[in-house]
C-alpha cells in the first residue's frame, strides 16, 4: 500500500498527465529533494522556488489568473501566516470581481502535530483557513482519500487548501489507489527517489486511475449509537482506535472523518446527530475560536431539539505553542487516552430530561479528560 506521501505524489502525477496541472512548486518541491515530505519527487512540472511564502501564493494566484493550474506548496502550514492577505485576495478574486475571474489553484501545506515539531512545525490552521471565504478546505486522513481529494482539488475551479496531516504522511492505508502496484516494495522502487545522487533518476510511474473524493462529502468511518463523533486529519485514526477500545466496554460511536471542512457535509452530520442525540468534536487546534465551535453551533442551528446532552469539543490546550518535550506535546494536543475519556464521558452523561432546566455541564477542556 502507498503511503500518504506517495499517494499525493501519484495524484499530482495524475494531475499533470490528465487534469492540466501546469506547475507544482514551492520551496524544495523540485529536484533534488522533491519536498521535505517527498510528496513531489519525480514530477514533471515540479520546480523549486525562493523561500518566500508571499511569493509562492502570489505566483500561484498569477498563474491561475493567466489560465494555468498550479499546485503550490507551503512547506509547513506554520509558515503560511505571513501570506494571509494574499490568501484572502485569492479567496475574494471571484466575489470581488463579480465573477469576472476565478482561480483554479491548490495550496498544499502539511498541518498538525505528532512529529516532534515543537513550536513552529506543529500548528493546526483549519480555524484560520476556514475563516478565509472563497476557499475550499480539505484534509485527508488516509492515502486513498489524499489521492481522491487532491484530484478533486485540482479539478475544482476555485482555490482549495489541501491539508495533509504531517504525522500521517508516512502511514499506509488499507485501500489501494487504482493502478497502484500490489507490492509496496515495487512501488517504492518505481517512484521513490534514491538516496544520494539523483541527477539521473527518473520515476517509473504506474498507470494510476481516476478516483475523486467529492469535496463536501464526509466519510462515516464507523456506525454507532452512543454519540456522533466528528473529526478529521491526524485524529481520525485516533478516534477509530478509541471507538475500537470502547466497543469492548459496550459503547459504539457514529464516527465521521469530515475530509472537507469547506463546504461541510451538514446532511450527514445532522442525520447522525438525529440518531445518536449526542455530539463530540475532536481536533488538534487550540480550543478558543476553534473550528469545532463552528461545527457545534451549526448542529445547534440545525438540530438543537435532537440533542440530549451538551455538545462537547475535545481540542488542544489554549497555549501559544506545542512544547518540544513529548510530555508537553501530549499535554497540549489530544492523545488517545484523552479522546477515549471524552467519548466515554459523553456516552455515560445522563440525558437531559424533557422539560428540564437545561443541558448538563460537561467538561470541555482537555485537561479534564485525564
Amino acid at each position: 500500500m502507498a503511503t500518504m506521501a506517495q499517494a499525493i505524489r501519484l495524484a499530482l502525477h495524475y494531475g499533470e498527465e490528465n487534469l492540466g496541472v501546469t506547475d507544482v512548486f514551492g520551496e524544495d518541491v523540485g529536484p533534488p529533494l522533491g519536498g521535505v515530505f517527498t510528496c513531489t519527487q519525480g514530477l514533471r512540472t515540479a520546480w523549486n522556488s525562493p523561500l518566500d511564502e508571499r511569493g509562492i501564493v502570489g505566483m500561484a494566484t498569477g498563474i491561475a489568473l493567466a489560465g494555468g493550474r498550479p499546485v503550490a506548496e507551503i512547506q509547513f502550514c506554520d509558515y503560511m501566516f505571513n501570506a494571509i492577505d494574499l490568501l484572502k485576495l485569492a479567496g475574494n478574486a471571484s466575489w470581488g470581481s463579480n465573477g469576472a475571474y476565478h482561480l483554479p489553484m491548490v495550496v498544499m501545506t502539511p498541518v498538525g502535530s505528532g512529529i516532534h515539531g515543537s513550536m513552529y512545525h506543529s500548528h493546526s490552521v483549519e480555524s484560520v483557513l476556514t475563516h478565509i471565504p472563497g476557499w475550499k478546505v480539505v484534509m485527508p486522513s488516509t492515502p486513498l482519500d489524499a489521492y481522491g481529494l487532491m484530484l478533486a482539488a485540482i479539478e475544482d475551479p476555485n482555490p482549495v487548501f489541501f491539508l495533509p496531516p504531517k504525522a500521517l504522511l508516512r502511514t499506509k492505508g488499507e485501500e489501494p489507489i487504482p493502478g497502484e502496484p500490489e507490492d509496496a516494495r515495487e512501488l517504492h522502487n518505481r517512484i521513490d527517489a534514491p538516496l544520494g545522487d539523483r541527477s539521473q533518476w527518473k520515476p517509473d510511474w504506474p498507470e494510476v486511475g481516476r478516483h475523486l473524493v467529492p469535496i463536501g462529502k464526509a466519510k462515516r468511518m464507523r456506525e454507532g449509537r452512543n454519540a456522533t463523533v466528528l473529526t478529521y486529519g491526524r485524529l481520525a485514526p485516533v478516534c477509530l482506535e478509541a471507538d475500537k477500545q470502547l466497543r469492548a466496554e459496550g459503547f459504539s460511536f457514529d464516527l465521521f472523518d469530515l475530509r472537507s471542512l469547506v463546504p461541510l457535509d451538514w446532511d450527514a452530520i445532522v442525520a447522525s446527530v438525529s440518531r445518536t442525540h449526542r455530539l463530540l468534536v475532536v481536533n488538534e487546534d487550540t480550543e478558543v475560536t476553534n473550528f469545532g465551535e463552528h461545527l457545534i453551533r451549526g448542529v445547534i442551528d440545525r438540530a438543537f431539539g435532537e440533542l440530549e446532552a451538551a455538545p462537547v469539543l475535545c481540542a488542544g490546550a489554549d497555549v501559544p505553542g506545542i512544547g518540544m518535550a513529548w510530555s508537553l506535546e501530549a499535554a497540549s494536543v489530544p492523545q488517545l487516552p484523552n479522546v477515549i475519556a471524552a467519548m466515554r464521558a459523553l456516552a455515560v452523561a445522563p440525558a437531559r430530561e424533557a422539560g428540564g432546566r437545561g443541558f448538563l455541564e460537561l467538561p470541555t477542556r482537555l485537561a479534564r479528560y485525564r
Binding site: G55, M59, L65, G99
Partner: protein
C-alpha cells in the same frame, strides 16, 4: 511623436482628470462614499494605456494596476461611465458589481486583473502571469504598477527576486509610481533613497527613472522599456515621479493640493508649440465635463445591487476559463 498622438494624449489626460474631479464631487453630493484615484498620474498613465497590447490571455499584456490607474483604463478604451457606476456602487458596475471601491477594476477580456486596496500585493501576484507568459513565448508581457509606499513592503522585493531567477527571467515591466507620499507620510522621512527603481540594480534588472509628469518623456520611456521586455523576455523596473493632486483619498478631504500639474504644463506646451489653441483646449474640457454630467444622470437612475445576490460568485460554479 506626431501631433495627432500628442493631441490624443491631451484629450485622454483631460478626460481622466475631469473623471477624477467628478468622482470627488460625488463624495460630496451623496453619490458615493469613498474616493481614491489618480489625478496627477495622467501624464504617465495615459501613455501606458496607449502602449498596452490589449486583449485576453497570455499572448496579450496582463495589467496589475493600482487604484490610481484610471487614466490607463481610459486610454485603453474604458467608458468613463463605468467608473461612475463603481463610484456609486450600482449593480451595473462592470468591475465589481458594486462590491469594491472606485477605481478598483477587473476586466477579464483586457487582462486587467482585480485591483486591490492593499497597495503592494500586485507585485507578488504579477510574477505568476509573467511566469505563464515566459513559458508561452510571444510578445505578451506583464505590467505591474504600484507606488513608492507599497514598494516598502516585501512584495516589491518578491517581484525583483522572482523575476530575475537565473535562467527563469520573467517578461515583466515593474512600475513604481513615486508620488513621494504614503497617505500623509513623506517618503523622504522613511526612505534613505529616492531612486526606488535602482533597487533592481543588484538583481541585474535593467531600470530607469522618468519624469511621470511629462507625457512625452513617459511615452518614450515606457515604449523603450516595453520593447526591451517584449523582445528580451526579461524584467525592467521603471520609476515614474508623479504628483498626487488631490491628496491620498477622500479620507484626507480630496481637495486640490499645491503640486506640479503635468496636465496643465503639457497643455501650455502644446499651445506654445502652436499645436493647440486655448479655445480648443477649453472645448476639450467642456465636452468631457458635459458628457460626464449626462453620464452621472444615467447612473443615478440605475439600481443598487439586489441584496439577494450577496452570495453570488463566492464560489465559481461554471467551467474553468
Amino acid at each position: 511623436m506626431d501631433t495627432s498622438l500628442e493631441l490624443r494624449i491631451h484629450a485622454l489626460m483631460v478626460g481622466a482628470r475631469v473623471l477624477e474631479e467628478q468622482l470627488i464631487a460625488m463624495t460630496r453630493s451623496g453619490d458615493g462614499y469613498f474616493w481614491i484615484g489618480g489625478p496627477g498620474e495622467e501624464a504617465f498613465n495615459v501613455p501606458l494605456g496607449l502602449l498596452v497590447h490589449k486583449g485576453e490571455g497570455p499572448a496579450f499584456d496582463y495589467l496589475h494596476l493600482h487604484y490610481r490607474s484610471s487614466a490607463t483604463l481610459l486610454a485603453m478604451g474604458a467608458a468613463p461611465i463605468d467608473t461612475l457606476r463603481q463610484m456609486r456602487s450600482v449593480a451595473t458596475d462592470p468591475y465589481s458589481g458594486g462590491r469594491n471601491f472606485v477605481n478598483h477594476y477587473a476586466r477579464h477580456d483586457w487582462n486587467v486583473v482585480p485591483v486591490t486596496p492593499t497597495i503592494e500585493v500586485q507585485y507578488a501576484q504579477a510574477i505568476g502571469t509573467a511566469h505563464v507568459q515566459r513559458r508561452a513565448g510571444g510578445e505578451g508581457i506583464t505590467i505591474v504598477n504600484g507606488g513608492d509606499a507599497g514598494a516598502a513592503e516585501g512584495d516589491f522585493a518578491t517581484s525583483l527576486v522572482w523575476s530575475s531567477r537565473p535562467g527563469q527571467e520573467l517578461p515583466i515591466l515593474i512600475v513604481v509610481a513615486n508620488n513621494h507620499y504614503g497617505i500623509s507620510t513623506e517618503q523622504r522621512t522613511q526612505w534613505a533613497m529616492s531612486d526606488i527603481a535602482s533597487r533592481a540594480e543588484p538583481f541585474g534588472i535593467r531600470h530607469a527613472r522618468v519624469d511621470g509628469c511629462d507625457p512625452r518623456a513617459s511615452y518614450a520611456a515606457i515604449a523603450e522599456a516595453m520593447a526591451y521586455v517584449r523582445a528580451e523576455r526579461r524584467p525592467f523596473c521603471l520609476q515614474a515621479d508623479v504628483s498626487r493632486l488631490h491628496g491620498h483619498s477622500s479620507s484626507t478631504g480630496g481637495g486640490l493640493v499645491a503640486e506640479r500639474d503635468g496636465l496643465l504644463e503639457y497643455e501650455a506646451a502644446l499651445i506654445a508649440e502652436g499645436k493647440l489653441t486655448g479655445e480648443q483646449a477649453a472645448a476639450v474640457w467642456d465636452e468631457r465635463r458635459r458628457a460626464l454630467k449626462a453620464d452621472l444622470e444615467t447612473v443615478r437612475g440605475e439600481p443598487f445591487p439586489d441584496p439577494s445576490t450577496i452570495h453570488a460568485h463566492t464560489f465559481y460554479e461554471g467551467e474553468v476559463r
